[in-house]
Assembly symmetry: D2
Amino acid sequence: MLIVMDAAATVEDVRRVVGAVEGLGLQAHPIPGAQRTAIGITGNRGTVDPGAFENLPGVSEVIPVSAPYKLVSRESKRENTVVSIGGVPVGGARLAIVAGPCAVESEEQAVEIGRRVRDGGAGLYRGGAYKPRTSPYSFQGLGVAGLKILARVREETGLPIITEVLDTDTVDVVAEYADCLQVGARNMQNFSLLKRLGTVRKPVLLKRGMSATIEELLLAAEYLLAEGNYDVILCERGVRTFADHTRNTLDLSAVPYVQRISHLPILVDPSHGTGKRSKVLPLSRAAVAVGADGLLIEVHHEPERALSDGPQAILPEMFRELVDEIRRLAPVVGRSV
Amino acid sequence: MLIVMDAAATVEDVRRVVGAVEGLGLQAHPIPGAQRTAIGITGNRGTVDPGAFENLPGVSEVIPVSAPYKLVSRESKRENTVVSIGGVPVGGARLAIVAGPCAVESEEQAVEIGRRVRDGGAGLYRGGAYKPRTSPYSFQGLGVAGLKILARVREETGLPIITEVLDTDTVDVVAEYADCLQVGARNMQNFSLLKRLGTVRKPVLLKRGMSATIEELLLAAEYLLAEGNYDVILCERGVRTFADHTRNTLDLSAVPYVQRISHLPILVDPSHGTGKRSKVLPLSRAAVAVGADGLLIEVHHEPERALSDGPQAILPEMFRELVDEIRRLAPVVGRSV
Amino acid sequence: MLIVMDAAATVEDVRRVVGAVEGLGLQAHPIPGAQRTAIGITGNRGTVDPGAFENLPGVSEVIPVSAPYKLVSRESKRENTVVSIGGVPVGGARLAIVAGPCAVESEEQAVEIGRRVRDGGAGLYRGGAYKPRTSPYSFQGLGVAGLKILARVREETGLPIITEVLDTDTVDVVAEYADCLQVGARNMQNFSLLKRLGTVRKPVLLKRGMSATIEELLLAAEYLLAEGNYDVILCERGVRTFADHTRNTLDLSAVPYVQRISHLPILVDPSHGTGKRSKVLPLSRAAVAVGADGLLIEVHHEPERALSDGPQAILPEMFRELVDEIRRLAPVVGRSV
Amino acid sequence: MLIVMDAAATVEDVRRVVGAVEGLGLQAHPIPGAQRTAIGITGNRGTVDPGAFENLPGVSEVIPVSAPYKLVSRESKRENTVVSIGGVPVGGARLAIVAGPCAVESEEQAVEIGRRVRDGGAGLYRGGAYKPRTSPYSFQGLGVAGLKILARVREETGLPIITEVLDTDTVDVVAEYADCLQVGARNMQNFSLLKRLGTVRKPVLLKRGMSATIEELLLAAEYLLAEGNYDVILCERGVRTFADHTRNTLDLSAVPYVQRISHLPILVDPSHGTGKRSKVLPLSRAAVAVGADGLLIEVHHEPERALSDGPQAILPEMFRELVDEIRRLAPVVGRSV
């Protein structure tokens, strides 16, 4: 940590800050400058709260130097984490292709889509039984009935199941049916839910919040690891910006950035990331080219009848084409489908 | 709702859309244009899902026309809602001044601050027993012990208590101790929590999410009203933007905008809205001048020792000065302190 | 400046950075830490380019410590700058009220509005002869004819004139007619224009760019001062964010922030800042309450016929009401109208 | 265009709007709804200013339906535009690889880099003689001397030259030396410069502004075409958001979006788009995979000595590797290098 003093700070001000630092059992290293003095702090094991110094007289700014996360960091674990979802590895050489409808609407719909995405090349199935909806008047998902349908899809297709969990109350029932529990963007900082999921013995797919920095995403993941769940997969799904030609702005630079500082795998969701069917293919290619560990794709055989997110779901035949393109592209980045 | 067709849409495309509209029991009104055709839809009572049409051939765009919220809307209730928190009205001619520490740290700290903000002019007390923290290694609040301290503060000062609730598991215990339950920015779209709070018989203070539009804020409030809780107070607390001179960008235009379309009261939180002590006074004045129904202010008598958000807490003497300024300013906007 | 090394940086890496620092004639102060080493740099008079170090092996981050601006800074000049526009002071105890149409459309229109805003309480007149328009097919202003009309307005009303200059080619002619030259948001970083205006002997009103940080705004002003023009007035006019209920998000915290680090006066433009007529009054009050040195208001007597920005122009009678409210509010912040 | 009336609008309000529409020689089509009336407008050839209606009593919103751009639109020209820069086609099957230093610093530096990027696979050379710099104290480029050096680079390497033009004063001299004139992000809405460049007989590379929507980018291009210059190449270079792990957020969805609605070619600049050397390779792959017509890459053989943007320049050997990866990836999207 570095404390930068005001240009007008007095010798006494500096002395007081040094005293405060030492009072916490740390070492202070004043660096006198032409215009102002800076004070380096060392000796801290964990994170020191900047608030301890920010309000002392003469202090202009407190700059944290070490990263606030530990377990998710590559400094704590060099090699990539590979998470197994029902036997399918995520984070290894093989790309994880997750596909399925936004929401489970009926057994017929869910199984039909399941068969078609499996035949099209998907290795994992996604579908929502509990849906977070902006409006209380929108379809909120089938709940437990939806989870049972998902179990049927797994039986019929052999694909492991990823599905969203919305609250602590339903963690147990979702964990009973699903192979991997998804935390949606709106819940990325639902810390009660994260703590609870940290104690579950199933992998968690954690989506980046709509306006979350990468540091916040990693700290959210840290909540899960700190509670003992190391099977965490991250997911970039677009952030909210002024740009209005897509529903969100897919921030693909997040992928290499996360991979440099963390050992956790990271997927990309171009369906939510763009909100537009016609953008799913090109952005899927881009996601694989940038180095993502896999894709999350919304597929619906009758998108015009979808109860949720129809405009961004692609048809099964487009999905097949998408996987074909990915298959040809993957070797360039040392991957396979 | 309005459906805009592609310039290249065929007569058949238009006919198909009209059929789809009528298939839902609605009326379609094609408007042929120089370059393209638009189709107006009427007859819908609730909200029609744009997804029902967006994917039909030849459709370029679907534009919703009526507002998606109902109960929170001024069209459903003309006069302002005044919410009573432990007997203190929020939303009337008198400004609601809510003050207290970010987190309850000890009975001594909480009561001391309580006395000083009451003497400084506060009408309500705020303080967190459960704290949502970005890092799992930061102080997470005292929990139930904190709630008990808050009850002591009320006893000692006579000020009703507002405190944050983080999850459905603790709704009951928080509701037992608090006069008003706060939903923080990160939980604005925690729909399970909102639904549960809709059934509670205590007022709810709902903070705008960090990247929430006003429409999303109102729809989150709609969740509460739809479940039967009409005692809802909104709060603007800054949004996340590129601007880096403050922690968040306080969006004061939200206040008159909300007041025009909704009957619910709206407060402003300049402490979180700026994240800087030196900005709390000027932005408090601005908030009252723009027409807010009150303020939420973090006050700490020893901010350099605060366990959370020290840099944005003001001292009790600054709070007193703030209330004095507000008192002089309020009559210009037809208010009093 | 502070250089933070990687956790894995070698002693040799640190030695190389120290050598590079000293090679530039500066002093290096290594601060060994538990996990990583930081290196403080002193001895620099001007700004050192972080690029000189960022790419050396083992360097994790380079953090600038001193501010990059000088002449605009309060460290270089303690007392507030008061700029005189045609005899009307901006930046003193009296608020500067600038009002007029977005664009000059005709002598009749411009003079009529001029009389009415003067009678309503304006001290300065604004109106565009050259208009920057997003579309090449929109009205682009009357040019020199517009400038001549502005001179007529000054004659008729006695109000000094502020008008926008779009390029270096027209600086001379605009400076001939106007009392103050405005640089619009889109031109805030048109450095050729800024350098040219730095040599003009007329005050400059510099608007914050749509996505400019305060540091960038101050550095743009620094271009003007560095060329010798010290009569610079800043203006907050809203920034671009995801929020869609107003045209821009007015960032009122910019006002106290600028006033703390710079001696230059700063106005607020709630017309562009919100883009909505119904928001101009409340945000004008807020701007004065936050401490702005004045307001820039678009007024049109027939806004429904305005050739540009009609929806945000207020009527002369609303302007009169606005000034009345401001008059009552100003004393709270030690100002007058 | 569609006019949406207030729920409380009277029959008289509707009649007045219809009258205003017809007064402009257009047809009005009222669509009575359950809660409110909408009025469709047809018969307009060009764009109708929403301001003409927005302020009439009872009007709630005016929604434009047709696109405001014409010449840049695919509706005006179906096939892709291929722009020739000094004989090198941009926009065809072959990817355009533009490489070179941020700034021309000396003949030795510029030529050395030129040889190495040509040998590495570049087809075009970029380098700045005039540099837009945030601070007046940063290196501003060599000016005409830099242009002469660029001409030497072309002679030595055979690569056509792209260089930035900052103002109308230097358009002629830049056009004399360069094969293509670049308009930087900060000048995207410098309309005087755009109009002037519309009359030049050299191609223009137009970069997206830091907070420009795609519509604004296309309208800026429309300024060039409207003045007669059809040789326009667009460039996505990242937008400004809250995300702080990269300098800008590269918005790759802009590429397929632009390609759907415009016939103009579009490049991607991952150097500015990320501001970090380590992100240039992965984002270059992503840009080609998403369908970009080429890349703009900053290369420096001694980036630690670069006078501008060192941290984002890659080394010549990294550039060679980048082109190799692109070469293997291009066929997947039907391209070649």
